[in-house]
């Protein structure tokens, strides 16, 4: 245990703050800040949806992303795609056939690592909504600078100097990769090293989830 702690000391993420049940009318909601990056997520479901969208095998997942300006862009569809695919693997959709689950993400502030913040906030909102899940998931962003140094959870200044940025999402059980996306070019070694670092750092996020959830639930916390 002692050695584990010293290992984790090297993996510093920006401070995380979270409030669950931030919205009164949603089934589950959370607002999460990682450093100055802030995202707000609301989850509704399982709810009734149109017959055409229903699936008899599993719940239909709908993810809506709205940026700060409110104008839809092609990049937003990509973010929705990433979050939908992540949630799809995590939620036990087969328990809620013929229903829909809506996840709405509102961008509040983007100071680096925004998509990672959105994904973590989505996980907290899903936990808050009480949906059955296979596992929880945690996203960690990192940046690789010109010298090849890896910086976890980068701030905007570090992002500007980076030659590549990567975001990885891990599951809570085996810490295998659920989702991952990269920007910029890099070597295979840099990629695998960044992956390992983020994998270790994801434990911090999972611990944080536990802290938050145990505040309102003794059973799952």
């Amino acid at each position: 245990m002692g050695s584990d702690n010293t290992d984790l000391k090297d993996f510093k993420l920006r401070p995380m703050k979270c409030e669950c049940n931030y919205l009164s009318k949603s089934d589950g909601s959370a607002i999460l800040s990682q450093g100055q990056t802030v995202a707000l997520v609301s989850v509704n479901g399982p709810l009734d949806i149109k017959m055409t969208n229903q699936s008899i095998e599993k719940a239909t997942l709908e993810v809506l992303f709205s940026s700060k300006g409110g104008k839809p862009a092609i990049g937003d569809r990509y973010k929705e795609h990433v979050i939908r695919q992540t949630c799809e693997t995590a939620i036990l959709g087969s328990l809620y056939p013929r229903t829909g689950i809506t996840v709405t993400i509102q961008e509040m502030e983007d100071y680096g690592g925004f998509l990672a913040c959105c994904i973590n906030c989505t996980c907290l909102a899903l936990l808050n909504a009480g949906l059955s899940m296979r596992h929880t998931f945690a996203a960690v962003a990192c940046a690789i600078d010109e010298l090849g140094d890896i910086q976890l959870d980068p701030a905007p200044a570090q992002l500007a100097a980076a030659r590549a940025t990567m975001t990885f999402v891990f599951d809570s059980r085996n810490k295998t990769l659920v989702c991952g996306f990269t920007e910029g070019s890099f070597s295979e070694d840099a990629h695998s090293e960044a992956l390992e670092r983020c994998r270790s750092a994801s434990q911090l996020v999972f611990d944080f989830y536990k802290d938050i959830v145990s505040k309102y639930s003794y059973v799952i916390g």
Binding site: R77, T86, T176, L177, V178, G180, E183, S185, H191, S192
Partner: protein, 284 residues
């Protein structure tokens, strides 16, 4: 019989094949489909290419236009990529505005091209703050049978490699532009990014990596499109995206990267040979 079995027990049908170490279309797990490439097939476009990977067919056409560069970046031209998925290519799409998957594919393709830095946008500048080239690269999918991003990148790169820019003279006093189409210079392309798609499937506690998946395999593996897309340019990774499918273990990733690297070389050869043949033909 097999068709009925496939309808009644879709998952078991798929699993039965995989347990025999073969895929429903007769390929081995790591086997890729044949690639057919043809350049300059559309005469109305400034550069074009058609690629066929198995059944997946994508056409790319590049149109040149002149524009004023952005004030904040006066020395930079524009490369605009767009992927279209008309209802023609698959029963999954309906007529109307671009679907989510078309937008996601467009973003993926644009990201790969930007991240690989294969085109220096400064090469597209003609006169500082006054004139720059705009490359409209439109990709239309004719038949979508999986691994769409691979095909898109391949046709886009083949088109870019054959693209020539006409000579433009600009008179700063009269602001008159004259284009001389008889004098053309080749566009500088740095390397050749090659994307490789994979589908990831969990079969009896072991993870299986399926290279170059068909749309049926992508569907069975639970992804909208491929689960893992890796991209190499000059032996350097320039993008690795993973969505959905079974969770990726370290061994699977190494396996996938190895296949992607081999494929990058194979595709590079295909493109080079195709362009060489084309150049021989026009110089005849």
């Amino acid at each position: 019989m097999a068709e009925i079995y496939k309808l009644i027990h879709p998952v078991k049908y798929f699993n039965d094949y995989l347990s025999r170490k073969i895929r429903p279309d007769g390929r081995a797990f790591h086997e890729q489909r044949n690639i057919k490439l043809n350049v300059n097939s559309i005469k109305a476009a400034d550069a074009s290419a058609v690629v066929k990977c198995g059944n997946t067919t994508v056409v790319c056409g590049i149109k040149l236009e002149l524009a004023t560069p952005k004030a904040e970046e006066p020395d930079v031209g524009f490369l605009v990529t767009n992927v279209e998925l008309p209802p023609l290519c698959s029963s999954k799409y309906r007529p109307g505005p671009p679907t989510d998957s078309a937008q996601v594919t467009s973003t993926l393709v644009a990201d790969i091209i930007a991240n690989s830095k294969c085109i220096d946008l400064k090469d597209l500048s003609i006169v500082h703050d006054k004139l720059a080239w705009v490359l409209y690269c439109d990709m239309v999918c004719i038949d979508n049978d999986g691994s769409l991003v691979d095909a898109c990148i391949m046709t886009l790169m083949a088109s870019l490699k054959t693209l020539t820019l006409p000579k433009v003279t600009y008179d700063p006093e009269t602001e008159e532009i004259s284009v001389d189409t008889s004098v053309r210079t080749k566009l500088n392309v740095n390397g050749l990014p090659v994307a490789t798609s994979f589908a990831l499937y969990k079969h009896e506690q072991s993870n299986i990596v399926l290279a170059d998946p068909s749309s049926y395999e992508e569907e069975m593996c639970g992804g909208i499109g491929a689960n893992l897309i890796t991209c190499y340019n000059n032996g350097i990774l320039c993008g690795s995206q993973k969505f959905g499918g079974c969770n990726l273990s370290i061994e699977c990733e190494e396996e996938a990267l190895k296949i992607a690297k081999e494929r990058a070389q194979a595709v590079e050869e295909v493109v080079d040979v195709c362009i060489k043949n084309y150049e021989l033909e026009i110089n005849k």
